[in-house]
């Protein structure tokens, strides 16, 4: 066992799948088998539904699943971040209570960090948790929560001490969403979609054992969650589901339903990114591909788009070669929003008068219109361009932070937003 090679692992997985995988199984039943076997999360520790394999060997094992199209454990949404956070900071009680049902897909999770009054300044959260007769009572509001309306549990950042500086007064909880004190409402965007929720807490209750790490450790724990989120984002679809196969079988049918549900909030994301892929085809269709001015703008856009793509490839390549991360890894988010903006402009140039139309009346049955009113989100969601520039300047270029005032004040004395 200690002497495992990639080949031995692959062989073992193939044999195990040979013996156990059956598309006719009920999805939940199959995932319980996976959890018991440890093959669902081979890189997790043995005592927690895993095989204790290295990341590399774990990836090898998972690739054997993909080869034959065997379904894996549930990975979508926030559950993997929740799990990673629990492994870093959670008690065995919490791991025991939650990990398994994450993998089986019985529980869905959401993240409750952002607030109307604290967007870029997450640590400025004012949602409060107060201990009353042995229970935590939560009041406040969170926002930009994805799929809270499907979630059973949430990762909550709340303020438990107002007399210490802002980063020190936060605590990290797991909260049950399905309780009277929690109200989940959709948050509609300017493009008509509602990809996010607002979550309101009125005397919502948390059992004391659902505190993660120690009282006042909230910022530290939230930082690890965010760190895992960035990593996940970095290696792309890691957190996303296994992309619906066309295969037949009860398990596949059930997985397809699950995927549709989890992907629903994301269906406009390609438009948010500007749909560079449509530019040449639309230009030809509209007869604008011969316009020298439009050609210049298309060329600028496609150049930036390709350069950005290749920059990401460079980052991955040097990572794979085990080199220290260069600057090229941190630019994607910012460049992506430049690309989205430029693409929306080019689509406007190309579609001209038709750019005024939407729905069935607009080109590609509304897709073009959706690009034009979705791209503004690219420079905001997941950290504004301005925050990205701060990060690049400070973390990549090592430039000094701005002198911050009142970091040592008790949070109650720090000026904050009264309304959102």
């Amino acid at each position: 066992m200690s002497e495992q090679t990639e080949e031995s692992v692959r062989a073992e997985v193939r044999a195990w799948l040979e013996a156990n995988w059956n598309a006719g199984l009920d999805l939940l039943q199959w995932r319980n088998i996976l959890a018991d076997s440890g093959w669902g999360m081979p890189a997790w520790p043995k005592q927690w539904y895993g095989k204790g394999l290295s990341a590399v060997l774990g990836a090898a094992a998972e690739s054997e699943f993909r080869k034959i199209g065997a379904i894996g454990v549930a990975r979508s949404g926030v559950r993997m971040l929740a799990a990673a956070t629990l492994f870093d900071h959670g008690s065995d009680f919490l791991k025991g209570k939650f990990l398994r049902r994450m993998l089986t897909g019985e529980d869905n999770w959401c993240q409750l960090f952002s607030e109307p009054g604290s967007g870029s300044d997450l640590a400025g959260a004012v949602t409060r948790a107060d201990l009353k007769d042995g229970k935590w009572i939560v009041n406040g509001q969170k926002v930009w929560t994805t799929s809270a309306h499907h979630a059973q549990y949430g990762l909550l950042l709340a303020r438990t001490d107002w007399n210490v500086p802002k980063h020190q007064g936060l605590s990290y909880f797991i909260i049950e969403i399905e309780q009277p004190g929690v109200t989940v409402q959709p948050l509609r965007q300017m493009n008509g979609h509602a990809s996010f929720n607002q979550v309101f807490f009125t005397d919502a209750v948390i059992a004391p054992e659902y505190l993660v790490a120690n009282l006042g450790d909230g910022w530290k724990v939230a930082t690890t969650t965010l760190m895992h989120e960035r990593r996940g984002a970095a290696d792309g679809i890691a957190a996303g589901p296994g992309q619906g196969s066309k295969r037949a079988g009860k398990a596949y049918d059930q997985e397809r339903i699950e995927i549709t549900k989890t992907m629903e909030p994301y269906k406009w994301y390609p438009q948010r990114a500007g749909r560079v892929d449509l530019v040449i085809e639309r230009a030809r269709a509209a007869g604008k591909n011969t316009d020298p001015v439009v050609r210049q703008e298309m060329a600028k856009l496609l150049t930036m788009f390709n350069a950005a793509k290749w920059t990401a490839r460079r980052a991955r390549a040097s990572q794979q070669m085990g080199r220290p991360q260069g600057p090229e890894g941190s630019l994607g988010k910012l460049v992506g929003s430049h690309v989205a903006r430029a693409s929306a402009n080019v689509h406007t140039l190309i579609n001209d008068a038709d750019a005024m139309l939407s729905g069935e009346d607009s080109p590609m049955n509304g897709v073009i219109a959706e690009i034009l009113i979705s791209t503004p989100a690219a420079s905001i969601a997941g950290g504004t361009d301005e925050i990205q520039r701060n990060i690049i300047a400070e973390r990549v270029l090592g430039m000094p932070k701005e002198p911050m005032t009142g970091m040592d004040k008790p949070f109650k004395d720090v000026p904050k937003n009264t309304v959102s």
Binding site: D121, L349, P415, K416
Partner: protein, 395 residues
């Protein structure tokens, strides 16, 4: 008054340029102040959101009340035709304030496009007959000139107009017609079969209930200003003005419309710029108003520059229209391009400065953002007008 072709060398502009006032009179400023207060009260965003959700996009009672109170539809129409007899500078002020308030009403379609087409093309009798109703806000008119090819000049006009009995029969399809589905009177641009471009163009008038006329609301990005597609199947129409002589009045109408749209756009841009400033002054992050962050300050400074430059171009163009200046065509294109870029840029930055909130439906920014997007292409993109500018300056 208008030169046969609007062409003139940029150098020669300087001459009459010096006759420009570059400022509004105290009376004009007063008019603006009253109007701004009036529209702020009549067109709160709750009202905009209510009307934009309807198919019509406006309501006759509110519209007529609006005209009864301030006679807005009459502002630039000559007194001889029931108007107040002011000029394009005053009309520009109305446009700017309507753009600021995002008023939902058929003003641009009826007063700017249709009325000017009638003023430029119609015979004396026709002006007498048609304009008073528009000036009073009782008749709502629309101008149908663009077609599905989306071209903004005469080259796009294919609708066929053939003499029949006393009048004409129209066959064809018009699209992107502002308020075309709700107007009482449609002014239509058609051409004699076999003609092309500027030749053979004529204006016609059609009543909205005319037989063979089908009107369909188009789904649009900016729901505060409705677009319609009008299908003409052997529709009986009356000639407006002189047969085959539509080209000159048409391009004149387009220039005047571009000037009005430019002024409307700077009004919208200025509203957003102010809203952004108000928001960043009150929004706290990291224990201080975000207005104290240099990146935010510089963005707001740049927005001010964009908007003030666009205002200068729009105001200058309004004066050029008022004076029927020789290079109005060039100036109109310059103002349209400049204001459209500034409005779009300001709208983008306003969302950005609001952060996530700015992208939500409940925040009002997107109402103006969508108006900016549709105004950017309506009457021709900035690119289109920059090329026109070069042509009109004989570069």
């Amino acid at each position: 008054m208008f030169p046969a072709n609007g062409k003139i060398k940029p150098e020669t502009r300087q001459g009459w340029d010096s006759t420009m006032k570059f400022s509004f009179s105290n009376e004009q400023e007063q008019f603006r102040t009253i109007l701004r207060r009036f529209l702020a009260e009549k067109s709160p965003t709750t009202e905009i959101r209510r009307l934009m959700a309807t198919d019509a996009g406006w309501e006759r009672e509110t519209w007529q009340k609006l005209n009864a109170d301030l006679g807005l539809s009459a502002v630039h129409i000559p007194e001889a035709y029931g108007g107040q007899g002011f000029g394009f500078v005053e009309l520009g002020i109305v446009m700017e304030e309507m753009g600021r308030a995002l008023l939902c009403g058929p003003y641009f379609s009826s007063v700017v496009l249709a009325a000017n087409a009638i003023l430029n093309a119609g015979t004396e009798d026709q002006k007498q007959a048609l304009l008073p109703g528009i000036a009073a806000g009782e008749t709502v008119a629309a101008l149908a000139f663009t077609e599905q090819n989306g071209r903004w000049d005469s080259s796009g006009v294919t609708l066929a107009a053939e003499p029949a009995g006393g009048g004409y029969l129209l066959n064809g399809v018009k699209s992107f017609v502002l308020d075309g589905h709700t107007a009482d009177l449609i002014v239509v641009l058609g051409r004699a079969p076999g003609t092309a471009d500027d030749a053979g163009l004529s204006f016609f008038t059609v009543r909205s209930d005319a037989k063979g006329l089908e009107r369909r609301l188009l789904k649009s990005v900016d729901t505060t200003r409705k677009l319609a597609m009008l299908t003409f199947k052997s529709v009986q129409a009356e000639l407006l003005g002189e047969a085959g002589a539509g080209a000159a009045p048409f391009s004149r109408t387009l220039d005047q419309a571009a000037v009005c749209l430019a002024n409307e756009m700077v009004g919208g841009a200025d509203r957003l710029r102010q809203a952004s400033l108000d928001y960043v002054m009150m929004r706290m992050q990291f224990g201080r108003p975000i207005a104290s962050f240099q990146a935010i300050k510089h963005k707001c400074a740049d927005m001010l520059v964009e908007v003030e430059l666009a205002k200068s171009a729009a105001y200058y163009a309004a004066e050029a229209a008022a004076e029927a200046a020789a290079d109005l065509p060039a100036i109109a294109s310059m103002a349209k391009a400049c204001a459209a870029d500034a409005f779009m840029q300001t709208a983008r930055e306003t969302i950005q400065l609001h952060g996530g909130i700015g992208f939500t439906w409940d925040n009002d920014t997107h109402l103006w953002f969508k108006r900016a997007k549709s105004s950017e292409v309506f009457l021709g993109t900035p690119k289109y007008h920059r090329e026109l500018l070069m042509q009109r300056w004989n570069v």
